[in-house]
Assembly symmetry: C2
């Protein structure tokens, strides 16, 4: 199937990658964070789809967002009704075409889905690291991914792609490993968060840190600041959507009339939806990873990296770059995406910008839309 | 000083109302809520500025927003450095000119600043009502204000005014007491909240209700869901401001460099600001009132009142109405303010709309701005 050149026409939704499973790469070397801190060894959990060609020249790296993981396509069993988070984008004949490309996606350093992070056992004590785990930067995440690619024998990537925090990683790849990345496709991203985005992250962290179950991070396994994490997720979820999207999906629909409503109950459909989002998140996500990843987002600052100049930060870039912004994204709004492209162009780089008119807010990059699929397909399939 | 006709020119900031104190009106009658529930008696705490004329024809009622109270102008002592929440708007020579007008502002029914509400003692037990207090609607709040005006001998108001939840009350006044209100000045308001605004309120309520200290509302006095209330306030505070306003005020300013930063600490100025907002709110506000007022906001729906038609809801209105929206308000955005005016005009009412270009988001109505002062002054001072 590798290097297949069968045409993948527009309107062709493509097939499924099918049943997949994850792999673990155990790096036995000490991993040093940019802060100077280190961990004695690293496990990186990842998935791959498609086949690596003989020259190892057809790999695409997919980077996940805050609440994502390495499972971005396929399903784990025939009974598994939940596919990977970018399943509509990745598969045979799909925009990230597994007939042509070897797709790699790993759980980020500091994550909680298999890659070493705060919930992993400290090798000396066997107890979870928790706050003894260093806070990774986006640069640290990218360096861990580079280790994985070394292990897989991939020197150069066809592309790195991702949305939101994944878009930050894609940009960081272009800066840190210019010789290893031919194309960068960054969606719903930003060169640095503004005060409002930091503010929302700060509220989420406060909800977790001030939960009495936080206990300075020394809560027993299986327990912890579940209420705080659920509240953080509920609030963040609003910021991932848009006013218009929420209005179309829920409007003012009620579960119960006000007169049948207990004060403590759920009255509007949108309340019920958010409660579910919060509660289901708690069973899947680690509170310390949540704190760490929001810190990584807050600290990501390409202006600072370039001594105040975004153009300077992008000076090493050799990749061709496509940035995609979404009209209804008010967390990392179109302006911030355009800012990235403009700075690249000022620096003489090969960059372009596409804006997709979708009403799903920041999370639009996760949603299936023909226009978005077309941009991704054309960017990856043209020379 | 009453009925003074001295000119109050533009650019004249006016004088101060000076030292003020509150009054309590104890209504001995059973107060029935629209839900059919009742409380056996009602205390309404209020302040007044200026003097009521002999004909009792110069009164303006000011209605407060969610976290406001009856103290909208002046200070409580010479040492009191905090003036009332609309002090720049109210005073001798100011837009709401106390040389001409008798200004009344009461703490809303269900509030926590002196008017009977969930934190008031239940007359039978002496213990706080808490959840035994009925949830007021905006209509209930307005009816309690009407009782106060009856007590003060005021049949007709020159104007009712307020922003946000106060704007809802002003609109409700025009509908429920058309013969008692000559002018309505509603700022940063909405005929009904959309899903996003309900969603933010729902997260705030969840933070309070899921705080272990909530204890079904049966927490000891002085204790309670302080963490949840602080988190709710922090989040809500972001929605009262704007992206641009936060960016200008805080940007990415840091208190500490990342490398000197504990994971649990406050790193960015905007984080520090929000923590302070949350913590200081806890000492001033009652968690049950917070839940009740957000429910009142969520349930306010003038479309439903008019059987689906906003024009129908406004059919009884006889007042002249000015609605003021703010360009950067994304909680009750300009469109929703224009919607009110448009429906009034369609129904043949005397209505106008002004949009003020301010960067402070929803809270712009609380901020001192020459253009805003001019609109208010001209509306109230022209026949």
């Amino acid at each position: 199937m590798n290097d297949a050149t069968q045409p993948s026409g527009e309107g062709d939704d493509g097939g499924e990658v099918g049943i997949v499973s994850h792999h673990d790469f155990d790096s036995p070397e000490t991993f040093f964070f940019r802060s100077g801190e280190s961990v004695p060894a690293l496990r990186i959990r990842y998935e791959t789809y498609g086949r690596l060609n003989r020259e190892a020249s057809n790999a695409i790296l997919v980077c996940h967002a805050l609440s994502g993981d390495h499972h971005c396509a396929g399903q784990y069993s025939l009974r598994d009704r939940k596919t990977g988070w970018w399943n509509r984008m990745i598969g045979p004949g799909k925009p990230i075409d597994t007939n042509r490309f070897f797709v790699v996606c790993s759980n980020c350093l500091g994550g909680c889905s298999g890659t070493t992070g705060p919930s992993s056992p400290h090798p000396e004590t066997g107890q979870p690291y928790r706050l003894d785990f260093p806070v990774p930067t986006i640069g640290d995440m990218v360096r861990a991914q580079a280790l994985l690619l070394d292990h897989l024998g991939i020197d150069e990537l066809v592309a790195v792609t991702g949305g939101s925090m994944g878009g930050m990683q894609a940009l960081q790849w272009a800066i840190d490993y210019p010789e290893r990345v031919r194309n960068v496709l960054a969606l719903a991203t930003t060169p640095r968060q503004n005060a409002q985005a930091i503010a929302f992250n700060a509220v989420g962290r406060t909800a977790i840190l001030q939960d009495p179950q936080w206990q300075g991070g020394r809560y027993p396994e299986g327990e912890g600041p579940h209420v705080g994490l659920a509240v953080a997720r509920m609030m963040a979820h609003i910021t991932y959507l848009s006013d218009e999207g929420l209005q179309q999906k829920f409007g003012r629909s009620r579960r119960l009339a006000a007169e049948h409503q207990s004060v403590e109950g759920v009255e509007f459909e949108v309340e019920s939806y958010l409660r579910y989002q919060g509660q289901s998140f708690v069973s899947q996500f680690d509170p310390v990873t949540y704190i760490y990843f929001t810190r990584a987002l807050d600290r990501f600052d390409l202006y600072a990296l370039g001594g105040g100049s975004l153009e300077e930060a992008f000076a090493p870039v050799r990749s061709r770059v496509l940035v995609i912004g979404f009209t209804s994204d008010w967390l990392f709004p179109p302006e911030q995406n355009r800012e990235v492209t403009a700075a690249l162009l000022r620096g003489g780089k090969r960059a372009s910008y596409a804006e997709v008119d979708m009403e799903f807010g920041h999370d639009s990059f996760l949603i299936d839309a023909p226009e978005l699929r077309r941009f991704v397909r054309e960017f990856l399939h043209r020379p």
